[in-house]
Subunit: 190 residues, 4 copies
DNA sequence: GATGAATGAGTGTTCATTCAT
DNA sequence: CATGAATGAACACTCATTCAT
């Protein structure tokens, strides 16, 4: 028998991300995605059980890629602020480097497809950050509020600022970046 | 008085919002929307030139509804903080009252359909808020940074906190609300 | 609005019968049937909810056509033997006149599709014959056995003799016909 | 001794019969059949040149199995009636024992696939019965009519009575069986 | 000999839209 | 104004079959 070609799976991920960004979920048909990936549409079904599986797998792939990037420079011995700043800048770098990955993620998360994801499994990949925030609370450095509130002010503004769909005609540069993190920190620090 | 036609148009808006939230853009076909609105799918074309027009019109309708709600209690004579707080709480009230409107908005804004909207025209409806922020900057109450940055920390966290798709299993209550606005204010104030 | 075209439904019935006879259920695709009927395959779905519905409806249509034919000359005042002979010859005439209708019926009845038919509703159309047989039993003219046994010897041999698929290279002619009915009568009479 | 290959071929026959009975020719795909037989679908092509070949071979296999069963107790020295009765009851036993084999046969024989079978070759396996009938004619015991007529009244009613698809909710038992053969004999005897 | 990978052609069905009334 | 009828194009997906190992 032939051996499975991992390049094809990768090409399908890329094609999915590209097309969904350009024309949306509705218009991104299986055949268009397959054509973009230079693969027969029936071959797609060798790698994914159906369209839904392809989309969800693509999302999970990206999300785990992001968690890897954000935790690469993670160093528990640093002060809380520096830990968060490192993660924050890593996230920005990731978005800058792979803006289409990020945009797909945002579109997916706001669609009904997101209900199909095993969220708990994904969240585990971000545990070190959650623990750092908790340590900040315990050490009276960070406001004693729900993790959702902290995340909403620490990371969510960044997703908006980096999203060309939401901040049209304006781009976050390195100078703004320092300011922006300062604002995020002001929001959550005691 | 509402004419028969307006009722049908209204029903189509409602059906669109409901279906897109439940099953997404991809699966929300014209015929399903028409059936949900108890209208023939041919009749839909009396009110909208095509499916795209229906979706964009629905979005614009909601966005203007939101701007009306946020500016209802607007009072230029109040201190900046109170002006923003009023708008902030009005927005929260709107989302709480019409969560499906809000969810449609988020899904739409993150999709390629959003490129079809005349953004400048829409932004005009939020001018008083933008001016208030600028006044805050001039009066050295608010950080002198780009409006996009201010919006990202003032309003964007709220959209996340109120979005059940993003904050699953957690709901913003009135007590958290005060805290949340405090964090938003800490982020943008000097 | 346009008015529904009954000719199209009729054409679809004919096309279904023709194709299923020629190439079987497996190869008779919706698109082939539609093309044979000179109708768009989407139009087919205006008349039938799906392929299954088309096939079952075609079967029911034929079966009722057959019952009409068999009971046309039905006359309760005749002797039992003549009543049955009339029905028998009517059935033969029907098969001779519309052999492809009959062949479709046989193929359908032997396929799993037949499970989808409301058999009780169909059987009602043959009640007069069943009653005649019962009268024959009561009058001690016909063997006192189950209706299924009577039908199996009275009508089933005819379906075989008239089926070119089962009796290849041999055809039932008018002379044989008299003989054949005689054999059927011998089987069931006391 | 049965080799490994023969087991696979046998498994493919069984899987074909099972699936075709349950879901029909149309839905019985090569891959489903292969999966049911616990064999790769490519392996199927080692034993059969294509799907058609598989189906026809399965039919021929069954038909020859049936002929073997019907002639097992064949004894030329018995009276005609006993010869036929033995064959008749053997056929009933076969159907009772392997109802799914029989049902496949009926479905196949009524489909266009049956055109692909070498009928003459198959008929040879039933020659003793045909000769017995002819002897009956010569000895003025059986009606002097075409063999097709005799077969239609002797064996065909049995196929109907034993077919659950045609005689739903009614089953032929041993008591009916004697009656039934009596009717068959009445039909063909002089 | 046996099989998983791969695919072009085809499946049944729904789509957005137009047409006739 | 409103709608059921009608359809070409596209949909997600499966097919029978071949290929490389």
């Amino acid at each position: 028998m032939r051996t499975k070609d991992d390049q094809k799976k990768e090409a399908l991920f890329e094609a999915t991300i590209k097309l969904v960004n350009e024309i949306g979920f509705a218009a991104s048909s299986v055949s268009k995605i397959a054509k973009e990936a230079n693969v027969s549409s029936s071959t797609l079904y060798v790698f994914f059980t159906n369209k839904e599986d392809l989309l969800v797998s693509t999302y999970v792939e990206i999300k785990m890629d992001l968690s890897r990037a954000m935790l690469e420079r993670f160093d528990d011995s640093l002060p809380i602020r520096d830990i968060l700043k490192n993660a924050w800048f890593s996230m920005f770098d990731y978005i800058s480097l792979k803006p289409h990955y990020f945009q797909f993620m945002e579109q997916f998360a706001n669609s009904p497809y997101s209900d199909l994801v095993d969220r708990e499994a994904l969240e585990k990949h971000f545990v070190p950050l959650i623990e750092a925030l908790q340590r900040g609370i315990d050490e009276k450095i960070i406001k004693n509020v729900d993790q959702n509130l902290l995340a909403a002010f620490l990371f969510h503004p960044l997703t908006r600022l980096a999203n060309p769909r939401l901040c049209h005609g304006w781009e976050l540069n390195q100078a703004d970046l320092e300011t922006a993190f300062g604002m995020a920190w002001d929001a959550i620090r005691l």
